[in-house]
């Protein structure tokens, strides 16, 4: 336990001592604010689907969830780079001499990334709601904003772990980003377009869609379980690759 705590301390220091983290978090907040503003205006124009309405009103937190489809890319970049920059800069050799246990190093990195994406995710959720609420005017409601923001934070924490695990498994930043984008952004809409039950079910099992079910759907726990399963699988794959391959 003391060793895990020490490894987490080192990862914490590493994360905050390069500029990447600041740029990523700044981008995340900007994307969230801009996206929330845009969706809130859509709502005002009557351009949002009925599913967004609750008792005839648009919850500001739901606008933040819509805007998350942009903002999550910055969170993904942050989490993914925390791992893959180790390979692209060669620091993985240093890291593994400091903490030779591959599993512990990966766990420490997941813990730090999840903590940061959780807290900043909650902040982003609140920010998005804060931008959306006045723009929604009497169409909107602030009900459930805090719960929704906490859920956004939780989703981003799990997504962060998924990105770290995948980064360890695939090692390169480019490949990792491509796979993440395919899983979360590109493939699900392709599956959903034909509107065939089987393909929809497959899409529902993809991490981004499952995350959306967690945030907005009727069975949030199933959605959370699915994203978590993806994250655990990615971390196990990452650990296996770290253990098998030479540094």
């Amino acid at each position: 336990m003391t060793r895990l705590r020490a490894a987490i301390g080192a990862e914490w220091t590493k994360l905050w001592t390069t500029r990447t983290v600041w740029w990523a978090l700044l981008s995340a907040l900007v994307l969230m604010a801009a996206g929330a503003g845009q969706y809130a205006l859509y709502a005002g124009n009557g351009d949002l689907p009925a599913s967004v309405f609750r008792d005839g009103l648009v919850p500001a937190g739901s606008i933040a969830v819509l805007a998350l489809s942009f903002a999550q890319l910055a969170f993904l970049a942050l989490a993914m780079l925390a791992m893959t920059s180790e390979f692209s800069t060669g620091t993985i050799r240093s890291s593994l001499t400091w903490v030779p246990a591959r599993g512990r190093l990966l766990l420490a990195k997941c813990a730090v990334v999840a903590a940061v994406t959780f807290v900043t995710g909650v902040v982003a959720g609140l920010l998005g709601s804060l931008v959306a609420r006045p723009l929604l005017d009497d169409l909107g409601t602030s009900a459930g904003v805090l719960t929704q923001s906490l859920k956004i934070g939780l989703y981003l924490a799990v997504l962060g772990i998924l990105a770290v695990g995948l980064g360890a498994a695939l090692r390169g930043p480019v490949l990792t980003l491509v796979v993440l984008l395919l899983l979360i952004v590109v493939v699900p809409p392709l599956l959903q377009v034909p509107d065939i039950a089987v393909l929809n079910a497959v899409a529902d099992a993809m991490p981004g869609v499952a995350g959306n079910h967690f945030l907005e759907g009727d069975s949030p726990l199933v959605g959370l379980a699915i994203v978590s399963a993806w994250a655990i699988a990615a971390v196990l794959a990452g650990r296996a690759v770290l253990q098998r391959r030479d540094a």
Binding site: T2, R3, A6, A7, G9, A10, E11, W12, T13, K14, T17, T18, R19, T20, S85, T89, G90, T91, I92, R93, S94, L96, T97, W98, V99, P100, A101, D246, A247
Partner: protein, 234 residues
């Protein structure tokens, strides 16, 4: 530190071929061999970075990863240094210290020791080669380890730096530590090392006191050429 039939293959290349040696404390052991002889690979296996194809490297009977706080037992400078270019030298050492529960004041001690006090808050990407090398050496000393493994530490150092590292290695050995250092600078090794291990194409060519290897030759350089004749990459 013992290497037991240590072997590493990369596909068809045998990088390290059945190395069986013991590296003792209290002296500087030089590790010599032509380019591609397998020195860096051996050192990476000692640090559990590369997994041996067969055999093992043990430190006081245990593998590197078996130590609770490895940096307090073995300090290492690897070839590439492996520092994030966007991180300052001091922050690099700070993270390193945290990882092994080493007190933070030790960071400033080794920075001073390595003559980096003035550049500690500069990004490592802006360091000269010699400064990166000094940062790596500072890292190797951070945990005050009884065993020090240095891969070509003299590379890129200015004359003052060369003299400094020579004194440092002699001092560490005099304190009873194990110092294992690879180098291509034979004249430097001749004045620093007590004992030499020479390899060529992954195989052990010599494992003997410096005096014994040099005996009968005009210099270590002459002795080295005779030993490694036929092992040089062509």
């Amino acid at each position: 530190m013992t290497l037991e039939k240590l072997t590493k293959r990369f596909g068809a290349t045998v990088a390290v071929d059945g190395l069986d040696v013991e590296i003792r404390p209290g002296r500087v052991t030089g590790f010599l061999g032509p380019n591609g002889a397998g020195k860096s690979t051996t050192m990476r296996m000692i640090l559990d970075l590369d997994r041996p194809t067969s055999g093992r490297a043990l430190l006081d009977g245990r593998s590197y990863s078996a130590y609770e706080w490895p940096l307090r037992h073995v300090g290492a400078l690897l070839e590439a240094g492996a520092v994030h270019p966007g991180r300052t030298g001091r922050n690099h050492l700070l993270a390193m210290a945290r990882s092994n529960a080493i007190p933070v004041r030790r960071v400033d001690e080794v920075l001073e020791l390595a003559g980096l006090g003035g550049s500690a808050r500069k990004r490592a990407g802006a360091y000269s080669m010699g400064m990166r090398q000094r940062l790596g050496i500072a890292g190797a000393l951070l945990g005050d380890p009884p065993v020090v493994v240095l891969d070509e530490p003299v590379n890129g150092l200015d004359p003052d730096g060369v003299r400094w590292i020579r004194g440092l290695m002699r001092g560490l050995a005099a304190e009873g530590r194990t110092v294992f250092v690879s180098s291509h600078l034979l004249s430097e090794m001749q004045v620093t090392a007590d004992h030499l291990i020479v390899i060529g194409r992954g195989r052990l060519l010599a494992d003997a006191p410096l005096a014994e290897i040099v005996a009968g030759h005009a210099s270590l350089e002459d002795a080295y050429y005779q030993l490694t004749d036929g092992s040089v990459l062509s």
